[in-house]
């Protein structure tokens, strides 16, 4: 409470935060029974791969972009980084297929779907800037091939794939920040609206009300 008697901005922010995301929804202790399926684990597997990507990428970034070329440990971390990216996209695509065939945008979940779709597109850009930041012939080949395609769209005026510093900045700072922010928003939206229920059998999809989604018939354990 401020001196004027009105709630302070911190109190208003807290109230708005709790109202938008009640603690029992942010960290639920049960999940709906229909979540007991392997198809529901690919989202968290994608996040697990992202954690490994960020960790291995941080080590590579701290040691410098040429480190992995001349040390065994550097090569090891580069391989961890590459293969965690492969798994990240592998799991994310299966997650995308699963949610597409579940029509996961039902029941007020369109923002969850869109945040996931945009994360997928931004991740492709993040991976691309990584491939052109390898500082080897592979990177040179990709960059010189890509520049013609990108220049034909006009984007080359401010996104120059032959500029290592620019690509590296995109790869280690700008795009990872966007991906992590979008993934965080995606998780919060999933918590808010609950996990999408399966499509009803033998009838057209009827959007389920978002408020009923989490824990409606709660028997499973929390993810």
């Amino acid at each position: 409470m401020s001196a004027s008697g009105k709630p302070s901005w911190t109190a208003r922010l807290r109230e708005a935060g709790v109202q938008a995301m009640p603690p029992e929804r942010l960290l639920p202790d049960t999940q709906p029974a229909y979540m007991s399926s392997w198809i529901y684990i690919f989202g968290v597997l994608t996040i697990a791969a992202l954690v490994i990507i960020i960790f291995s990428g941080s080590v590579l970034g701290l040691k410098g972009p040429a480190w992995w070329h001349y040390t065994g440990v550097g090569h090891f971390f580069n391989s961890i980084h590459l293969w965690s990216v492969e798994l990240f996209f592998f799991f994310m695509v299966i997650h995308l297929w699963g949610k597409f065939f579940m029509a996961a945008w039902r029941g007020g979940r369109s923002r969850t779907w869109m945040s996931g779709a945009i994360t997928f597109l931004i991740s492709i850009a993040a991976a691309f800037t990584g491939y052109v930041s390898q500082q080897n012939f592979d990177a040179q080949w990709i960059a010189t091939q890509a520049k013609d395609g990108l220049n034909s769209t006009g984007i080359g005026a401010f996104f120059n794939v032959l500029n290592f510093g620019q690509m590296y900045t995109y790869h280690v700072l700008l795009l990872p920040v966007v991906v992590v922010a979008l993934v965080s928003a995606h998780i919060l939206l999933v918590r808010r609206t609950g996990i999408v229920p399966p499509l009803p059998l033998g009838e057209l999809a009827i959007p389920a009300p978002a408020a009923d989604a989490p824990g409606a018939s709660a028997t499973g354990s929390a993810a």
Binding site: A33, S36, S37, W38, I41, I94, W97, T219, G220
Partner: protein
């Protein structure tokens, strides 16, 4: 023994062509694996799911 010694990787990538469509074999293998994992994830029962269903 490393995996690279078992599979000879010291050659240009193999590609498949169908008309205008062209893709590396390695990319096709990854897509095939994703389809297999997707199908298995749907078909394979989740541990404990039957017990939970019978209880509810």
């Amino acid at each position: 023994m490393s995996l690279a010694a078992i599979i000879n990787l010291n050659h240009p990538a193999s590609y498949v062509h169908w008309g205008f469509f062209q893709m590396s074999v390695s990319n096709l293998v990854v897509i095939g694996l994703m389809i297999v994992v997707f199908a298995v994830a749907i078909a394979l029962p989740f541990p404990g799911s039957r017990r939970r269903r019978s209880r509810s």
